[in-house]
Structure formats: C-alpha cells, structure tokens
Symmetry: C2
Subunit: 245 residues, 2 copies
Amino acid sequence: MRNIKLTIEYDGKKYLGWQRLGDSDKTIQGKIETVLNQMTDETIEIVGSGRTDAGTHAYGQVANFKTESKMTVEKMQLFLNNQLPNDIVIKEIVEVPERFHARYNAKSKQYSYQVWNSEVPTALHRNHSYHYANNLDLEKINEACEFLIGEHDFIGFSSLKKTKKSTIRTITSAKIATKDEMITFTFTGEGFLYNMVRIIVGTLLEVGDGTKEVSAIEEILNQKDRQKAGHTVPAQGLFLDRVSY
Amino acid sequence: MRNIKLTIEYDGKKYLGWQRLGDSDKTIQGKIETVLNQMTDETIEIVGSGRTDAGTHAYGQVANFKTESKMTVEKMQLFLNNQLPNDIVIKEIVEVPERFHARYNAKSKQYSYQVWNSEVPTALHRNHSYHYANNLDLEKINEACEFLIGEHDFIGFSSLKKTKKSTIRTITSAKIATKDEMITFTFTGEGFLYNMVRIIVGTLLEVGDGTKEVSAIEEILNQKDRQKAGHTVPAQGLFLDRVSY
C-alpha cells in the first residue's frame, strides 16, 4: 500500500471541525474523504495530526492515508483541488514511508491566534480574528507568556474533565506580534489539550487588560484550576499553522 | 446644518458596490443611508469620495452627510456600528466644516490589489485576493511600475468609452510588496478612471509572466488603446485603502 501525506489549508468557518461525524458533510475530514473515495474507488480513511474545533482554521494541517491507487501525487493534488470546495486546499502532497502516521509521529505543532484590539471592530478581518476592545498592556502579556514555556500540567488551561491520560505538555515558544490593530499570539509545543490555546489566549487577554495579575499563570498551572483561568476565546481567531515531524 | 465625515471599512463580497441603486439593499451607500435615516428621522444622502465596484473592498472609504441631528458623533458611531451588518464598519466619524465635500475635496486616493501568486490556490485569503499561478518576474513589474508614475492619459487602462471628460490622471506612486505567496500592488494618485487599477494590475501581471514587454506600458499610454492592455483582474482583490484631503 502507498502512504500519502497531505498538507491542508482550510477556512473553518462553515465546518463542524476537522473530525468526521457520521455521514455529516460538514467536516474537513469528511469532505476530503468523499473526494478521495471518488478518486480511488476505495474507501479511504485519512488520519489527521489531531482535531481542530468547529470554526478553527488551518494553514498547515497534516493528514495521511493509504491507497492502492497508481495515480501520481501531482495528479492527485489537481484532482483534489478541483473537486474540493474552495475553502479547503491541498497545499502539498507527497508519498511517505508506510510507517508514517500523521498523529503518532507529530513532534510539534504551531498554533496562532489573531485578536483585533481596537474599540472599533473590523469588517475585513472579522472572520479570522476575535474583537477585543479593552486596552492591553503588551509588556504584561509578554511577561505572562514566559511562565507558559516549559513542561507543565496544563489541565487548568483546558476544557477536559478529569482524565486518566497525561495532561502534561511542553510549550517551547509563546509570543505575540502586532501589526496595526491586529495582535497575533503564536504558540509552539509538542501537543495541546482540548481548548488549551483558546483558554491561554483568553487568560493572557485578561492579564493584558488588568483583570488578572501576571502571576495568575503560575497559580493556574500549580492549582490546576480551570475556574482561575480566563474565558475561552472564539474559534474563528485560531489557526493551526504547522505540524512538524 | 452639521456636516459629518465618515471613514468606512467594508468587505465588498456581498454587495453590488458603493453606489445606491434605486431601492436595492445590496449597496454600501444604501445600507448606511438606511441606518442614518432611522437614526436621524431625516432622509439622509451620503456623498462618497467615489464609487467602488461590486465586490471591491475598502479599508478607508470616506463619505459625508448633512444633518440637523444633535446626537454626538460618538453616539452616532455606536449606533451605526450596532445597526450595520458586520461587513460594514464606521472606523471614524468627525464633524467637519459645512463646505467639506467627500468627492470634490478628495486630493488623492490609495488603492491596493492583492495577488496570490502560487500554483496552489489559497483557502484562507480566497475572498481577498486574485489567484494567479504563472511565475512572475518581479523586477520587470517594478520597472513597468516606473512608467506609470506621472501625469498621463490613462484611457488605455480604463473601461471607459470615449468621453468628453478628461482622462488625464496623475499617479504619484506605484509599487509592489511581497509576503509569502501574496503580492500587494499599491497605487497612489489624484484619482483613477473606471476599472483603471484592475486593468493596470492585469497588465503588470502579463508583463511579469512575459506575455507583454515592459515597454507595453508606454505604448498603451501613448496609443491610448485598451486592446493593448491586459485583462481586468477581478474585484475581490481590490481595496480602497485611503482617501486624503
């Protein structure tokens, strides 16, 4: 069997998220599998690097699938991009060794989150950012980002209920960049818990506007208490930028 | 009468353009006037700095209107942004002298045009750019831009039929910038003819991919022949950035 790796860009606005839900036509995985089934006359199941939530976007989600098809990867890419809706694009397609697994082999992921920080909302970037009007102290946010870096139990920054699985994760980079009214938060790490990026951003915004102290980050990590963390910012500002192997 | 100046950002995707057409609810001007009528109980007519085509966007369209209303401009801005659809945003609102006229007093305008230059299309920027897959020689495009600068008869770069009005315009700046696969063309000038920016960009792309020579720009300006110029690129890549007074 050939093993094919896809790098996928998508605008999550119209979808229920990455993961196929029964026969629903409203997931990214479902859309791609439907086209792959047409293309190969097989029943293809693709393995994503991980789920993304309803409304979340990706510049570089990664997935793989096995096939007996003899089609070249160049032809597959053309077929897919012709047949997929224009809010899903196969950016890259390569053949990989049979043992490659998009989820198990993922070494790190980069997510970014866009915040439109102005009293006045944005018309042009409204679908790709979260409007947050409060004045923000970016120095404080930068300080708070430092406390996130390293290996921690991030359960306090997650929507998970108690779980037997480990909730320890490592964040290797957490930073912000600004361009006009847009603030982009970027996080790199080995993996992220459910809603972790969105709750971290909500907490950092509350640090920035003075609702919380910078030290709140350490408290939430130590006390593992979701109640102490900030709000879960909406999915439309979140992007899965890149998955590294 | 008070005279109020609006600076407006909009996503043109769903609209037939700036200018109100009868009772149609599908124009930016129409949408804003409807809300202003509710707000003031008057019949307001707003004057835009100029039209924008169906599908064209704006970061900073400018318009003005006269009113007897005693409302503060801050309250007007809140009312408008609450009532307008979220693809139209009033970014700024100020009271100006009664003689101010958004069209007659406009000294210069800046437009930009986004081209997604890659074999593979873009999912996330698809509504705000034009996908052009051919390889482009950016040096040649830069050279061609130089020929546009200055006072010229731009009728060859316009969709106008013969007209008695002057088709002489002055472009003070024409340049490109790239970020990843996105090329942004930016033009500043005293005013632009109908479709002029879109035909200039289409011509520059054809210079860039080798279909036309750099010298074609001079020929089109001299011969005033629309047939010699490039294709009219689609409206979705075009932005009215700024109007200066």
